[in-house]
Subunit: 354 residues, 2 copies
């Protein structure tokens, strides 16, 4: 079978703890299906690396990582050690941009066995498509009149036609494959009056090329309210970098826990590797306790296999996750799912089920 | 008793429908307590006005409105008639800025009788303090390379020391009066790496002057998740213009419906009038049906009385709202609260209870 070169970056905090579970499940899948994983593990993109080297990644990180078929990423950052905007912008956010992973794809699905905080959640099953390289996440801006009463800080949001159109296109194409072919655009053009109306215009224009897709748009404020009031309404939700970021923590929270949610940072063309990670971060507060939910990491591995073209293996992994969570009792589920289980116990159960 | 000069602006859509209920309750309060309301109604800040005059407000709106003690505002905008960024920036958002209403204060409270979508909501009772004049809502930026593949749109977020410090101060002062004296700051300094770390720095600095307040900060993405997972955790949440906007739709959704939520656009100094409005907008989709929830408008009136110094009357209004909602059956509650009642029926019940 095929061999895929995978760069593994565990990173910080619970990233280190859930990564072994992710790898165990991936190995189980490769043993059962006809493909191989050639794994190389890197210690950079972590606070430990930063302490040793004064930077988050080696200077040649682009050359190092470009040859891989995919990057499998844990989590990075620990605000008690270094400010987030240094650790994150020196690693994850730089990779997303450098490798032009302009699609951030995040499923929100109510999984049997995972308790939702909603009294009546309905059948939640949708995708969040987040623009992942531009928008509100910019490096331009600065401070003036520093240290005085007039101190003023400015940061620019940048949207390009190329950047907006390609993420919208991805979302429209995905919406075509869903149950109701419904695409929701997250906007805030009533308040953010320069960039957001532009986003709306491009959305409206592109919708003409997709008559089979039902479109709608909501301002981000009321959209978060709808996520709580009727999450089963959605098929695909597309948003800017910041809007997508917010919705893809809120969506999983509504399905029960962000601990199970995966994230694909996808470069749809074949020039650079895509990166797969759990939605949750390094969670220093629960680090070292062995109770982190490994499902986000495992599910991210599932998305990676799908991206690599291993459809059958990906399906088996998804089924294993669903089956184990659906049948698990309190002793297996981690605390974020109201259980008493551990990372390893749940991770092992899923790997075995594959 | 005292006489207060109130400017009433019903605006568009359901703003027109809920305003009479708000006024009826206010009149009931002024009849029972020892004060008078001198009401002047204006037809501007509406799409009808725009159609007639080609602008949302008369040129002398500042002179017209400045003498009032407060502005009582319905809702504005109808995207089917004019784009939001024209109607809103020509009225509500301009007033907030011109009258330096830099505090947007929004309570989130679980009211007995209003069904929450959460299975186990706990005791939700907190305030959202939103910066209301700067930040992400800016008028600077623009488009370049228009109509070409290189088309690029930029909008600037602007934070000033004065602007950030005064809203933080208001939030810290408010937190001192709450049950657990807890203040939560909404940030996103891991992604928005220029303005948001500045917000964090000012927050940290000011916390030193308030040792009695317990502080914490969450990135806006995970904060929205916490709003769903454990909303009873919060006392006061302070956020930038955009973050506060999002949280103050999400918070009320978690307590049941944004239809009951009020919003005070407060200029804490005595130079300009403050503006009180429901959180919900003009809702063209349910306009004309007589089913809009009047509670947001009435509760906004309650906040206005409190702001004017009529503490007793405000308390009576709050009690009336709580009692009517707590005792109401399906025939009185509006559809957003899973009832079959009408705007007028519910509004009358509250006015009578006062
Ligand atoms: C209508 C809109 C411009 C406004 C805002 O974003 O401030 C509204 O959502 C609000 O929260 O008052
Ligand atoms: C860690 C942070 C910079 C990141 C983001 O905002 O993109 C995270 O929240 C995510 O969603 O992947």
């Amino acid at each position: 079978g095929k061999t895929y070169k995978i760069a593994v970056i565990p990173g910080d905090g619970i990233g280190q703890e859930v990564m072994p579970c992710g790898l165990k499940s991936l190995h189980a899948a490769s043993a059962r299906f006809n493909f191989n994983l050639a794994i190389t593990t890197f210690d950079f993109a972590s606070c430990d690396y930063y302490d040793k080297h004064g930077k988050m990644m080696p200077d040649d990180w682009v050359e190092l990582l470009t040859p891989f078929d995919a990057i499998y990423f844990g989590a990075v950052g620990d605000p008690a050690r270094h400010p987030d905007h240094i650790t994150l912008w020196g690693s994850l956010l730089q990779m997303r941009r450098q490798f032009d992973q302009y699609v951030n794809l995040r499923p929100c699905r109510l999984v049997k066995g995972v308790p939702s905080p909603l009294a009546d959640p309905g059948e939640i099953d949708f995708w969040i498509v987040r623009e992942n390289t531009e928008g509100e996440y910019s490096e331009i801006g600065g401070k003036i009149f520093e240290g005085t009463e007039r101190e003023t800080v400015i940061q620019e949001t940048v949207m390009t036609r190329i950047g907006v159109d390609r993420i919208l296109k991805y979302a429209f194409e995905l919406a075509k494959t869903t149950r109701r072919k419904r695409l929701t655009s997250a906007t805030k053009s009533n308040g953010i009056k320069i960039t957001m109306p532009y986003w709306d215009d491009r959305f409206k224009l592109m919708s003409k090329s997709y008559p089979e897709v039902t479109t709608e748009q909501f301002h981000i404020d009321i959209l978060t309210a709808h996520f709580v009031a009727k999450p089963s309404h959605f098929d695909v939700v597309v948003g800017s970098n910041l809007h997508g970021d917010i919705l893809s923590d809120l969506g999983p929270a509504v399905t029960g826990t962000i601990g199970i949610a995966p994230s694909g940072n996808i470069h749809p063309e074949a020039k650079f590797p895509s990166l797969f990670e759990p939605v949750h971060g390094s969670a220093p507060d629960i680090m070292g306790k062995g109770i982190a939910n490994p499902v986000g990491m495992i599910w991210a591995g599932q998305m990676m296999l799908l991206h690599l073209g291993e459809k059958q293996a990906a399906e088996a992994m998804m089924k294993a996750i669903d089956r184990v969570l659906g049948e698990a009792d309190q002793s297996v589920l981690t605390p974020d799912m109201k259980g008493k289980g551990t990372t390893q116990k749940l991770g092992d159960a899923i790997a075995e089920a594959i």
